[in-house]
Amino acid sequence: MVASARILRHTEIARGIFDLRFFSPDAARTATPGQFVHIRVSDSFDFVLRRPLSVCRVDPSEGSVTVVYRVQGAGTRRLATMAAGAQLDVLGPLGQGFPLHAGDVRAVLVGGGVGVPPLVELAARLAAQGTAVTSVVGFQTRAQAILQDELALYGDVRTTTDDGSLGLRGLVTGVLTQGFVDGANRYYACGPTPMLQAVQRTMAGLQVPGYLSLEERMGCGFGICVGCVHPIERDGRVQNLKTCKDGPVFPAGEVLFT
């Protein structure tokens, strides 16, 4: 659950976006797509909080887990300085990932920015169970587009960018039309909150059920601080559930936005 994991590979795959692979046989065996790891970027008190990063790929045979992250602030900047061979303090896998439904014929995956990484392992598992996968991924601009090739291994990928520098200009929801989601049993979405909100609304209109992976600021990452909650309507009442423990993935129909 907590491990000092050796970094196997650490490369910049787009401007300021890194692919980090570390050795953690247990996590590689047990992690499911949508779960995350909670990484301590330094033993300095400058960073008393760990950083949550979604599992992007696991390779149980190699015993490796891969995360893909964007340098955002001081912590990820520090993380980016760590070289292959160094030891990383990793807690996880944590949380509830994306539930798979064995009978699904077709699933639509929607990702925005650094919300795309968890969709890769998800696409692989869906494909493995025979569910057809179509992905829609949105980025600010071409230079920040990531993981389309990886997703393309498992099905069609549509790309949008805010500035039109790659794929369609506009938001991912622009792609989510009746025709596009035709035949889809389910959708899975991960990305910034405004995107999730728009996707939830659009897909509800198109009557496709799905799951959202929420992003909240975390203290502990495993349920003891109650910092990361999100309002969820469940069992007929609104509850502030912990996204680190009860989530980050929730049924889209239960998620409330304010």
Binding site: L49, G75, C220
Partner: protein, 322 residues
């Protein structure tokens, strides 16, 4: 002092009527009700456990973001989210019964004296609850909490009312956001507090300069972590030299050396908060580090460290023992 084998170190400390197997316990709100951490290690290793603040009825807490990082610390504005005392008693505490010699201390919060009293009354029926920790120092709720902790008269009134209702010992948790901590401590002692714990968080704020707004949805939050340790040590030192009731040290403990520092300042035990987030194994690690430090320093009984660097507090302790 000549080094000792680590196994020869007696870690026990006496807190009121409780003989704790060691002086380390998690701080309220930084351990939930223990269930999550029980996946990581045997809670029976802990000196005691202090659970999340409990109010009379369920509370949803504040909107998010509720946490932010700061240099050597963090801010939180949880806002006392908890399921209310009934469900705490029914759903959250029972799993703790299976641990041998793990005193359960329940942190109590509210907005009015009557609420506090009522929660304490209901907890009084539970044999699982070893002590009450009265949280009159929560900076993150609009009404109640901290104002009791920064006003001498209100604090005394609260403590007296709760003491009347309580069947278990009452530990009063003090706020550091005051000009004279010794005076607040004395007020609580005079009103009947059985022990004190300090400190709760300092009020702080971070601003998200790119969005031009406070980072926490609540605006301000409580500052905790190593950053506040020197403030906490100073207050423990001052209070331990002022009151005759035992003092529990809280604030920034992240290592065995930190724990020893609080003990020497005059605390009989320490609580560990934020460090649990950085390192889920913080508490058992700190216990082992205390043991190792004692062994290396030739200290055979950790209880001998209490107030070792605080002559006035040591004198009070000796008087009390007579």
């Amino acid at each position: 002092m000549t080094p000792l084998p680590a196994n020869d170190v007696d870690l026990r400390v006496q807190l009121l009527s409780l003989m704790l197997k060691n002086p380390v316990m998690p701080a309220s709100g930084c351990f939930s009700f223990g269930r999550e951490v029980a996946r990581f290690y045997d809670l029976g290793l802990l000196g005691a456990i202090v659970v999340k603040a409990t109010t009379l009825t369920e509370r949803m807490g504040n909107p998010t973001p509720r946490v932010a990082e700061t240099p050597a610390g963090m801010l939180n504005a949880i806002g006392l989210q908890n399921p209310g005392v009934e469900r705490v008693l029914e759903e959250e505490l029972p799993h703790l019964a299976k641990y041998d010699n793990l005193p359960v201390i329940v942190n109590v919060a509210g907005t009015a004296v009557e609420d506090y009293v009522e929660v304490v009354r209901r907890l009084g029926d539970s044999p699982l609850v070893a002590a009450i920790e009265l949280n009159i120092s929560c900076p993150n709720v609009k009404c109640g909490g901290i104002q009791f902790g920064t006003d001498r008269g209100m604090a005394a009134e609260m403590v007296a009312a709760v003491k009347e209702a309580a069947t278990q010992p009452v530990i009063v948790k003090l706020s550091p956001n005051v000009a004279d901590i010794g005076d607040m401590a004395q007020a609580c002692e005079e009103a009947g507090a059985d022990a004190l714990s300090l400190i709760n968080t300092l009020v702080g704020m971070r601003i998200d300069i790119d969005r031009r707004t406070p980072l926490l949805a609540n605006g301000t939050g409580g500052l905790s972590g190593p950053a506040i340790l020197p403030v906490a040590v100073r207050m423990v030192y001052e209070v331990a030299a002022r009151v005759r009731i035992p003092v529990i040290g809280v604030g920034g403990v992240a290592s065995g050396r930190d724990a020893v520092e609080f003990l020497q300042a005059g605390a009989v035990a320490v609580q560990v908060g934020t460090a649990n987030f950085t390192d889920p194994f913080a508490c058992p690690r700190i216990i082992e580090e205390v043991r190792d430090w004692c062994a290396a320093s030739g200290v055979s009984r950790v209880a001998d460290l209490i107030a070792a660097a605080n002559p006035a507090a040591l004198r009070l302790r000796k008087e009390r023992a007579l």
